[in-house]
């Protein structure tokens, strides 16, 4: 029977939740890396036992962890005992070294971005928000960083190189949002292997069609009238999350700061699909594993009140690719609920019926094994949940 492995990143460590394919009984393992912030963990689609984790701390900075056995054991890449006894000498300890490319050879990337006060500031690495393993190679993985940049490793996370062309896409105009200037979403396209989408707060979405060498902003149709009076502004939009169904790679869904949006042309243009949502502010957005037109969001009251409208935790589902939304409430608290659901904290499995999962800043992890019709809390008292990824195991 197939099984589910859920990788949960929290403010105080990581947890691995497992179940068989019935998704009724769950085992909670953790905390791993106790006391550290685990921004994101994700498994390789090419090798489900290969997991990557972004472990960060205000005190001790960034650490990248890797597991080659499905999360049973972890090491920073390059520091296993056999690496330490390598005939090549001691490893250099570079698995957490994210250096912005300032070389002239690779596109003369910009070295400053806009700060809150309008001045230009140099890029300064803070942490990795998101790790996206290659669809085909377990040793290739992308990292989305704050300050916003995209890094790539082709040696299982031992070393990283910036794909600096991204910052050439009007990077001097990017500026941090309230959560920092972070590259938080990376979407790979199995139909177009050289295509990569990323999303940055508060810069917008960007697309590369050449494996990350060159990039262009893909924000036409986004409206941020108070923050960006220029209706044609190419960058500066606060995109919270984008997603795609792998069978339909030209269709993207977006949860923006305000507005839920859709593109039918690989980001060339966007249109609003907020429809009848009670609020179109929110963070995560997910698409059903088997129905490319079925989309999920969790409305949040506003940018100044980060909790569900009316204290009712409701996932909204559209079966029409947007515009028409239904509230999914069965099993979710419908009074006095004031948690938030962060951008990387919702995911789906590949079973039928599709399972959908999300974690809250109150430490609950909710699961639905029937595409959202009903929900149960797998665990209620974890630290604030930063991210959730789900692996469907054979």
């Amino acid at each position: 029977m197939s099984g589910i492995r859920m990788l949960v990143g929290t403010k105080k460590g990581a947890f691995i939740l497992t179940s068989d394919g019935n998704r009724k009984q769950w085992t909670v393992n953790g905390p791993l890396f106790a006391g550290w912030e685990l921004y994101h963990l994700k498994g390789s689609p090419a090798d489900p036992n290969r997991l990557y984790a972004s472990q960060t701390s205000s005190w001790f900075g960034q650490v990248v962890q890797r597991s080659d056995d499905g999360g049973k054991t972890w090491t920073p890449p390059g520091t296993k005992p056999e690496d330490l006894m390598s005939p090549d000498g001691m490893p250099k300890g570079e698995s957490n070294m994210f250096l912005y490319d300032t070389s002239a050879e690779t596109g003369k990337p910009l070295t400053t971005h806009q700060h809150y006060d309008g001045s230009q500031r140099p890029w300064e690495f803070k942490r990795v928000w998101h790790l996206e393993p290659s669809l085909t190679d377990p040793d290739t993985v992308y990292a989305g960083a704050e300050d916003a940049a995209l890094f790539k490793s082709t040696d299982g996370g031992k070393t990283w190189k910036e794909l600096a062309g991204l910052r050439s896409a009007k990077g001097q105009l990017w500026q941090p949002g309230a959560g920092g200037m972070c590259l938080h979403t990376i979407v790979l396209d199995k139909v177009h292997p050289d295509r990569i989408f990323v999303a940055i707060s508060a810069a917008g979405t960007f697309r590369s069609d050449d494996g990350g060498k060159t990039w262009k902003p893909t924000n036409k149709g986004l409206v941020s009238k108070y923050e960006l009076p220029d209706p044609d502004a190419e960058v500066g939009h606060c995109v919270h999350c984008i997603t795609m169904h792998p069978s339909r790679p030209n269709v993207l869904y977006m949860q923006k700061h305000w507005d839920v949006m859709r593109s039918d042309d690989a980001g060339e243009s966007w249109r609003e699909i907020s429809g009848n949502l009670p609020s179109d502010f929110g963070f995560p957005i997910a698409v059903h594993a088997h129905e490319p037109n079925t989309v999920y969001v969790v409305p949040i009251k506003s940018d100044s009140e980060h909790y569900p409208p009316e204290g009712k935790l409701r996932v909204y589902r559209s079966r029409t690719g947007g515009d028409e939304w239904e509230a999914l409430t069965k099993g979710l608290p419908q009074q006095d609920c004031y948690v938030n659901i962060l951008r990387d904290a919702m995911a789906v499995d590949q079973l039928d019926p599709c399972g959908i999962y999300f974690g809250t800043t109150g430490g609950q992890v909710y699961a639905s094994s029937n595409a959202g019709d009903s929900w149960t809390a797998i665990v209620r008292d974890l630290p604030p949940v930063l991210s959730i990824e789900v692996q469907t195991l054979p």
Binding site: F33, A34, G35, W36, S57, S58, W59, F60, G61, Q62, V63, T75, P76, G78, T79, L84, M90, P91, K92, G93, E94, S95, N96, M97, L99
Partner: protein, 98 residues
């Protein structure tokens, strides 16, 4: 041998219990001790001081012989008692925040 005490999170990362002992050749300075520490435990690189600038991370402090050495030059000799292994060199996470 130089004795080094790591904060709990870094002991976990380096997979060590208790104090670390290091052989440091030449003058015993912060820089020499940290170089030896990172050479022996490469997973600690970047967690105590910046990879490139080698500056101490903002919320990490250094102590020895009940003195705060955090603002000393990295090339200043450490107290004799630390250099002789009588007292440990303490690497501490700043005690603020959660």
């Amino acid at each position: 041998m130089i004795r080094v005490v790591l904060p709990a999170h870094l002991r976990t990362l380096a997979r060590v219990n208790g104090e670390v002992t290091l052989e440091v050749k030449g003058k015993v300075t912060q820089r020499a001790v940290l170089d030896a520490l990172e050479a022996r435990y490469p997973m600690l690189r970047g967690t105590i001081r910046d990879h490139v600038t080698l500056k101490r991370r903002a919320f990490v402090r250094f102590f020895g012989c009940e003195q705060d050495l955090s603002h000393e030059s990295p090339d200043t000799p450490l107290p004799d008692a630390v250099a002789m292994g009588i007292e440990p060199f303490l690497i501490v996470g700043a005690m603020a925040g959660g």
